[in-house]
């Protein structure tokens, strides 16, 4: 192989290595991009964090939306966990409070994290949580029963065709 060809090969190899690096960077960049996409579009039914809402005055009393509440206890978690009420009717704009009940039947303190998901997914961005037990991990002492509050508002911007929203919490065990 002559010198010129060897150099040309080396230059092309370096360019291709840069392409490999770019592809790797792209893969890692997908993580924040995916989160952002989910937040903006409500893809996956992801809801945002705490929302400040000044007044409930604009409640649209002409319209009703049914909100359903469900819960799933993930494998490895031994709490009992359920909503106190499984469905309710609310007006868009109205601020509502309900709660979930959790009980730790074991003889050791356990921590859990509830992960919310809203369906249909495109309603997620219109489901505002003002206060939620899912914002922090919860710790229950042995035998403890806890009523955990959720304060939410369905935004008046909710598309008219959505008449029912389901809110589901998956409860995961967290160690430490």
């Amino acid at each position: 192989m002559n010198e010129a060809l060897r150099n040309a090969n080396r230059r092309l190899t370096i360019k291709l290595l840069l392409l490999v690096a770019a592809a790797t960077g792209f893969a890692f960049a997908l993580v924040p991009f995916y989160d952002l996409l989910c937040k903006v579009t409500g893809l996956n039914g992801k809801t945002g964090g705490a929302v400040q809402i000044a007044q409930a005055s604009q409640a649209d009393t002409a319209r009703w939306v049914t909100v359903e509440f469900t819960s799933t206890v993930m494998p490895g978690m031994s709490w009992e966990f359920r909503p106190v009420q499984t469905r309710m009717r609310v007006h868009p704009g109205e601020i509502t409070r309900i709660s979930y009940l959790a009980r730790n039947p074991t003889n050791q303190a356990l921590a859990g994290q509830a992960v919310p998901s809203v369906s249909p997914g495109w309603a997620a961005q219109h489901f505002n949580k003002i206060e939620c037990f899912c914002f922090q991990r919860q710790v229950l002492q042995p035998g403890e029963v806890k009523e955990m509050p959720l304060v939410f508002q369905v935004s008046p911007e909710l598309p008219a065709e959505v008449q029912e929203i389901s809110l589901s919490y998956a409860l995961f065990p967290v160690s430490g």
Partner: protein, 532 residues
Amino acid sequence: MTQAITAVAHDQHEHPPAGIMRWLTTTNHKDLGILYMSFGAIMFFIGGVLIMAVRAELLFPGLQLLSPGMYNQLFTLHALIMVFGAIMPFATGLNNYLIPLMIGAPDMALPRVNNWGFWILPFAALLLLIPFFLQFSGIGSGASGLGWVMHNTSLDLQGGIGVDFAIFAIHLLGLSSISGAINVVVTVLNMRAPGMALMKMPLFVWAWLITAFMLILAMPVFSAAATMLLTDRHFGTHFFDAANGGDPILLQHLIWFFGHPEVYIVLLPVWGLIPHILATFSRKPVYGYRAQVYALWAICFLSFIVWSHHMLTSGLPLAAEVYFMYSTMAISIPTSVLVFCWLGAIWRGAMTFETPMLFALGFVAHFGMGALTGLILPDVAVNAQYHNSYVIVSHFHYTFFGGGIFGMLAALYYWLPKFTGRMFDEKLGRLHFWLTVISFNMTFIPQWFAGLDGMPRHIADYALRFSTMNFISSVGAFLLGLSQLLLVYIVFKCVRSGPKATGQVWEGAQGLEFTLPSPPPYHTFETPPAVK
């Protein structure tokens, strides 16, 4: 005197070091090609033995031989070994041996990288297999059972050391295939003989050039996803851990962003070599050369934007489902262009049916069935029923085995006389073909029916109504496994006592590699050939 000295020097140049050192240190593209292909063949048999155990378990309903955990390990290892250990290295072996000959280059552009790329592979295979054997001496909980895409069974971040071993194996395999891909691109772009314009390159070279770009873009995503899984498991990150704000669906997106291009990475080299074989035995020039080159590029591009057709039941918004449905179906347009070019290649040709031609035609038929069923699967409504059923298993075996393996067997029989300088036993070759066709279909046709009837995949036991189909499928699988032993015999017989092959080998064969004697000398095209 001077003459004698140059003769000696020349001799040393001509002959590789003898014995084992030749194979360990070789940077010669033909030696490495043989090594890669042999490694792929060995892995093919290991992967085959693993799945025989799975089929034995499925012979009858109920659990007879394996625990569900062991069952998961076996099909996971089978898939990883077949895709990354058998098919991909075999395709790399073919490119190593053939690309320099086809473009008139003296060797691959980066011979030393080539050597490293190969010798990484046995270690990667060991990493995959070690935890499997360790469990029998009570160490660890066995190999990974997560499926070849690391989430096929319930995602268990706590899975044992097997998962970590698999992740490291994936890193090594990624390193090996990326280095191989870089080598292909540099060789093809920089080392072609004068006159070998890009649009004159044989289709196998084109297909591999495109495959190499796909590897370079897709493989790092797989490695990155595996790395994230590793750090989630051991270093406190939460990429995929929902309890801590991560998202398990993200793992699926990352894996399938790689996974769908990967199925074309497996198949493109085969699509490249089939036209060579069809043209030879139809005694016609390659049909639709330009159309095929453009179709290959189109498939390369499309394969990167359709990945979520593997996730249609994961709760995507409707708009996304519809998008992924139509974009996936769009792939069948360039794919059909290829299929029609293959049919055009044999149309009114003076066909003869030697073993390579039989396997090439078998490829066209079986791949056609795989692709047609693929066209049904992305239908959003239909997918809800077929996803994770045996329909999927059958679909991808028609593409991977009916397409990939049939194509590679065609290539092996086609170029074997070139590699070894000897002809194989044509009668036995044909027998091998027919046994493979019959047992392959006997294995996988029943899986359609079981899948349509609702049999889920990845489960060691099944409902009684699937018994007949599974029994037939298992018997077919054992026959399929046994028939492949015939291949070993044919290759050994060819190497040891086959009649001498000519340089041309096949009457209608074209291409630079057939202008050389069989086997070609250790060094070829040190001065570039003239390309018309």
